[in-house]
Symmetry: C2
Subunit: 346 residues, 2 copies
């Protein structure tokens, strides 16, 4: 028996397997990548123009032979959250948190029984609450989001999300993320894009629970912020959340915050409302080949249908510019096989 001849093919197989495994580990550290290459990386998307446009873009800019190749360090992608990675109807989920928090704190504030907007919050009177306008909602946010340390606030949110239930869908808010977008995030990461959340929502609210759902670390979640103060506290330092707005991460605030925090212009930006338009415009000016993606809520049965006249997630100017400039617009009803992960059957 020729020992060498027996071992040679065995070694070849092992070397190939080794290289394959290492490549896989290098790219993602999981076995997802090989799977993604072998089978459809976006299985919850119908074979529509949107899916084709996304995959053809990614394939082009990650091809070292292409003139549109983008170095890994520049593959920055930014995603709005509310109405883009999860639902935002009948109101931003963070508002439901604020209302629940006001109810929890009500016993310490007997005056809230008669004072607006707190009275409306305590009575689940959404109409009056909305009529209190920006000033009223700001009062509600400050009463419910300030006054704790960052660590205490994190624990409060984590507790809340465990039991809070969406008023009409009757599931936890964290179940109302979009399965096709989870696949898109994973697909981009498998192709060495860095995925960021860039949302008008509160950054600490999001960080407390969306990291594991989106597989995005805290440092890649960007959002609106309340003012904070550092307190050395005799060797047990705390960062205290105080009653003031530090930054609103919406509209022009999105590209401004992207520049402040990331310091690079995205090549891929995804949103669903006019609040995301400056982020998409900024991305469209990248000298690298870029991709602007709007999610159009068109599914009145499985999710919600709204655009130009909606108070939440209004998509009007953005839709015009998308049509004019040939940006990709997802038609939720037609483009997505499933909306939420719980619809998946195994």
């Amino acid at each position: 028996m020729n020992f060498k001849n027996v071992l040679k093919p065995i070694f070849s197989v092992i070397i190939i397997t080794t290289l394959f495994n290492c490549q896989e580990v290098k790219e993602k550290g999981t076995q997802e990548v090989a799977k993604a290459e072998a089978i459809d990386p976006l299985p919850s998307w119908n074979d529509s123009a949107s899916k084709e446009a996304i995959m053809s873009y990614v394939s082009d800019v990650t091809n070292t032979e292409s003139q549109n190749f983008i170095p890994i360090a520049d593959r920055i992608s930014t995603f709005d959250n509310d109405g883009n990675l999860w639902s935002e109807q009948p109101a931003y989920f963070q508002l439901f948190f604020a209302i629940d928090r006001v109810k929890e704190l009500a016993s310490e504030h007997p005056e809230w029984q008669t004072e607006q907007p707190f009275k409306a919050a305590l009575e689940d009177d959404m109409e009056t609450l909305m009529k209190s306008g920006e000033h009223g909602l700001l009062q509600l946010v400050m009463a419910s989001h300030a006054g704790s340390s960052t660590e205490e606030f994190d624990a409060i949110i984590k507790d809340w999300i465990k039991t809070a239930v969406h008023p009409t869908k009757k599931v936890g808010y964290d179940k109302l993320v979009y399965q096709p977008m989870l696949e898109l995030l994973q697909y981009l990461r498998a192709n060495d894009f860095k995925t960021y959340v860039v949302s008008g929502g509160g950054v600490d609210f999001m960080r407390a629970f969306v990291s594991p759902i989106y597989d995005i670390p805290a440092e890649q979640i960007i959002g609106s912020r309340i003012k904070t103060e550092f307190d050395y506290n005799d060797g047990n330092p705390k960062i205290i959340r105080t009653a003031g707005i530090d930054f609103i991460d919406d509209k022009d605030g999105k590209p401004l915050n992207i520049q402040k925090i990331i310091g690079k212009k995205p090549v891929f930006a995804s949103g669903n409302s006019d609040g995301d338009l400056p982020m998409l415009q900024w991305t469209a000016s990248n000298t690298h080949k870029n991709f602007m993606l709007y999610l159009h809520h068109t599914d009145v049965v499985r999710e919600w249908a709204y655009d130009r006249d909606s108070h939440i997630g209004k998509l009007d100017k953005g839709l015009d510019q998308a049509n004019k400039d040939g940006w990709t617009v997802i038609d939720m009803e037609k483009d997505w096989k499933v909306i939420f992960p719980f619809e998946l059957t195994n």
Copy 2:
């Protein structure tokens, strides 16, 4: 011949090699790691207590068998820049940029020939310049750092660093980085720490050229910021730098900005002045095993020697707390074999 018995040990070796290779690729994607393990990862450090403390900490918290093991996602390390990763004497290097920029713009501002602090800047009269105090220096910074787009400013800095020369060391400012700290950054990254710059210096000033020197991407450089505005500019959007301070990333601002931008408490923090003390205090309160590192400038021959009475990089309260709490203090003269990369002989 028992085929199985021959192959078993061969497979074992191959499996071990495979695991080792994959681990390596996973950790760094380069061959640096194996090298770092095999030879001294901190060759420019003398075998002092500082080096021993750093290496014993890293070895402990990256050991999966240790009760002090820190998951990779939490291995956040933050480094001050001025006087910590590069020199800061006889004045912050960014001030020399501001002076050079004022000289460049002087022809458009004839009034600067007589107006302070501009007159002093134009005449290289550092004494008068320093006497103009915070207000004067702020005027200088605004005149030299505002009024351009982020892209234009980036190009201005990149141009400046190419030719600017340090007044006494007579080399480019980017040559005055500390070789032992470059090795420390690389050593931490090889052990899956994420390395951040957290500096009182301007974030856009740093990002323009320190990324390749420190091997730290723009999104991991945190600093002070000027106010900015988004201008859609008819489809050619710009972010314009305006004359106002947005955030000073010094003292309490450091832990506040770390929480805002990273959203995780560091486990390793490195600084050289009282301005870094809150960042080190914040790090010291991490429930993970943590490491606080102060660089003490003690080398009057090769660099500079200063601490409690210095106007720049004053280290007074920080030194007291380091001594009291047993933080590691680098004695630059005794602990470092070389200071700057150009001292290395190949």
